[in-house]
Symmetry: C2
Subunit: 353 residues, 2 copies
C-alpha cells in the first residue's frame, strides 16, 4: 500500500469517496426530476471515470472535441454528443469515420457548419443528428435569437445528411435560458418541428435546472471533482472537492511568503471565477492566499496565518478549475482513506483537435 504521504509532489489526487458521492448526487438529482443526464467528460478525460458515471445512470456523454470523442468511442461509449462546431475536410472525414462506430451527435450554430456536415454525410451515406446551439446569454457561440434557431432548424430539417435533434445551450442561465427556449420551442412547434432534446449545461446551475421546464437533458462536467470555482459559486462545499493537488513548500523567503513547488504548469493560470487573482485554496492554511504564480512556483501570502508552514511541509490545494488541471497532467492518483487505490492515465488529455 502506498500512502498519500509517500507521493512525490506536485501530484494530482482524486478522493474516490468524494468523487463517487458527487456522481451519485448529480445522478439522483437528475433522476428525481426526470432530466436525462449526459456528463461532460472534459473534466476528467478518463474513460474509467465515465464508466462510473454511466453505471450510475448517465445516458450518453458529452465531448468538446472530436479527438476526445475518438478516445471515448474506442473505450466503448456508444452515444456521444460533441458540443462543438466541426469544420474542415479533415475533421468532417474523422466525424464520418467515428459515426460508423458510435452514435455521434453534434452542435451547429450556422448554415456554414450545417452545410459542411451535410455534404460530408451525404458523400458517406450517413445522417448526422444535429443540435442547434443557442446563445442564451453567455456571449460565446450559438445563434443569437429564437428566430435564428428556427431558421437553422428548418435548414437542418430540409437538408439530406443531417437530422434536427433539438436545442442546446451553455451555460444554462436562470435568467436568459428560459425565455429564449420557450420562444424557440414555440416557433419550432408552429413550424411543425420537434426538439427531441433540449439540453442545458454547466455545473454552477445544476441544482436549479428543474426550474426550467423546457430542459429535458443536463450536461455537467466539473461536478465530478468540484473546485474552488464551484465552491465560490455556492454549488459545492470544500468537502465535496475530490481533486486535491498535493504540493510542497520549497521556500520561505520572508516571514509572510511561502513558495509552493508548482504554478501554472500544475494549477493553471486561471483566476477564481475568471476574475480574482487567487490561484487555488490551501486546505491546511485557509487564511493563506495564492496571489501569484509562475510556471513552477506559486507565491503564497501567509500574513493572515497564525501558524505558518516550514520548508518541506506538504500542503493540499483545491485548484480554481479542475478541468484545466486535468489537461495539464498525464496521470491522476485515486486515493481512499489516505491510501493510493488506482492510478489513472488522463487518456484524452491535450486533444485540442
Amino acid at each position: 500500500m502506498t500512502s498519500i504521504e509517500d507521493l512525490e509532489t506536485p501530484v494530482v489526487t482524486i478522493d474516490l469517496a468524494v468523487m463517487e458521492a458527487n456522481i451519485r448526487k448529480m445522478q439522483d438529482y437528475c433522476d428525481r426530476h426526470d432530466i436525462r443526464f449526459r456528463p461532460h467528460i472534459k473534466t476528467h478525460k478518463i474513460p474509467e471515470i465515465a464508466e462510473l458515471q454511466r453505471a450510475a445512470g448517465a445516458r450518453g456523454i458529452t465531448c468538446q472535441k472530436l479527438g476526445e470523442a475518438e478516445v471515448f468511442a474506442e473505450a466503448g461509449f456508444e452515444d456521444i454528443f460533441i458540443s462543438y462546431n466541426l469544420i474542415g475536410t479533415a475533421k468532417l472525414k474523422r466525424l464520418m469515420e467515428l459515426s460508423r462506430k458510435a452514435r455521434i451527435s453534434v452542435a451547429a450554430d450556422s448554415a456554414a457548419v450545417v452545410g459542411g456536415i451535410a455534404e460530408a454525410a451525404q458523400a458517406a451515406g450517413l445522417e448526422i443528428p444535429v443540435m442547434v446551439e443557442c446563445d442564451t446569454g453567455a456571449g460565446r457561440t450559438g445563434v443569437q435569437s429564437p428566430r435564428q434557431a428556427l431558421e437553422l432548424a428548418l435548414l437542418i430539417d430540409r437538408t439530406t445528411g443531417v437530422s434536427f435533434q433539438g436545442l442546446m445551450t451553455f451555460p444554462t442561465s436562470m435568467e436568459g435560458t428560459p425565455p429564449f427556449l420557450a420562444e424557440a420551442l414555440d416557433l419550432l412547434s408552429g413550424a411543425g418541428l420537434t426538439a427531441h432534446i433540449v439540453s442545458g449545461g454547466g455545473t454552477p446551475q445544476s441544482w436549479r435546472v428543474h426550474e426550467i421546464p423546457q430542459i429535458n437533458e443536463h450536461r455537467a462536467g466539473t461536478y465530478v471533482y468540484n473546485d474552488s470555482n464551484t465552491v465560490a459559486a455556492g454549488t459545492a462545499t470544500l468537502e465535496e472537492c475530490a481533486m486535491r493537488v498535493r504540493m510542497t513548500v520549497v521556500s520561505r523567503p520572508t516571514e509572510d511568503r511561502a513558495i509552493l513547488d508548482g504554478g501554472s504548469k500544475t494549477l493553471s493560470a486561471e483566476r477564481l471565477l475568471w476574475k480574482d487573482p487567487q490561484y487555488g485554496t490551501i486546505l491546511e492554511y485557509p487564511e493563506a492566499v495564492i496571489y501569484h504564480y509562475s510556471e513552477e512556483h506559486a507565491n503564497v501570502d501567509l500574513a493572515a496565518c497564525g501558524r505558518k508552514p516550514a520548508v518541506g511541509e506538504p500542503v493540499t490545494v483545491i485548484p480554481n478549475h479542475c478541468c484545466v488541471v486535468s489537461n495539464l497532467h498525464d496521470q491522476v492518483i485515486g486515493v481512499r482513506d489516505g491510501q493510493v487505490e488506482v492510478v489513472w492515465n488522463v487518456k484524452a488529455r491535450g486533444l485540442v483537435r
Copy 2:
C-alpha cells in the same frame, strides 16, 4: 510535402528560419559581451532544439524541474543547471542518480534545502555544485539580502557534499540586480569565497545584460520562440515570433464577434504581461482583440476590423507566453517557407516533478 494550409487546427507551428535567427542573435550577443549563455529549455522542452542552441555556442542548459533534467541528460546534455530548490527523499535520490550521468548543478535559497542535498550527497559519495539564489526584486524565491547570500554561501562552503558555485537571480532587473550582486560579491570576497558563476536570467532584459558587469552567465528561454509578451516588453518584434498557433474561425455569432477553435487548452489562460486580459495577437487581423477564453474557444472582438473573417477561415495567433503553450501540446510542427519540415515531440512536456 505538406503545406501549412493542410494542417488540422488548432496546431502549434514553429517558423524554423525565425527560430534559427533568434538562436543566432542571442548567442552572438552573449559572445560579443563575453557572457556565458545557458539557455533555459522550459520554453521548448525539445532536445533537438537544445541541440541547435548548443551547436550555436551555448554552454550548458537550464532546467526548472528534475524531470526535465532527466530527459535532457538522457538526450546527451552533460552540463545542466536546475534552477530550483530540490526537496524530499525521492527527489534527492533522483538528483544523486542523475549526478552520476551528467554534471548537475542546483539552486538553493535556504539552509534546509542545502542540508537535504548535502546529506543525500554525503550518503552517495558525491559533491553537488550549488548556486545561491538571490531575490533581487522579483519577490519569488531567493535569499533576501546580500548578507543572507553570504551566510548561505559560507554554509555551503563548509558542508561536505556540496560546493559553492556562485550566485543566481531571476529575473535580471536593471534596477535591483546590480546593487544586490555588487554588495554580495564584496561580502563573499571579504570572506575569501569566490563566486565562479554569477548568473542572471530572463528574456526581457537580454539585450542589456552586458550593462551589469557582475553577471558572467545569462539564462534565457523565451527568446528562442518569442511571444506577445516579449513583443509588448519591447524585446522582440512580431516578425521575430517563431511560435505561431494556427487556428480556425468556427463561429461568427454576431457582426463583431468571432470564435476560434482553441482557448486555454491551446493558448493558456495567461494574460498579456500577466495583467491585460488579452489572450494573444492575431497576425491577419491586428485590430482584433482576443478578449475572453474558455477551454476550447477564444472570443474575438472584431469591432475595430475593417475586413472580418468568415466561418472556416484560418488565422495565425502569436500567444502571450510561448513556454506555457509548449507545455499544452504533445507535438509542434517546424515549418519553413510554408511547408512542414519536421514534427517534434515536446519530450519534456508536463514534467512538473
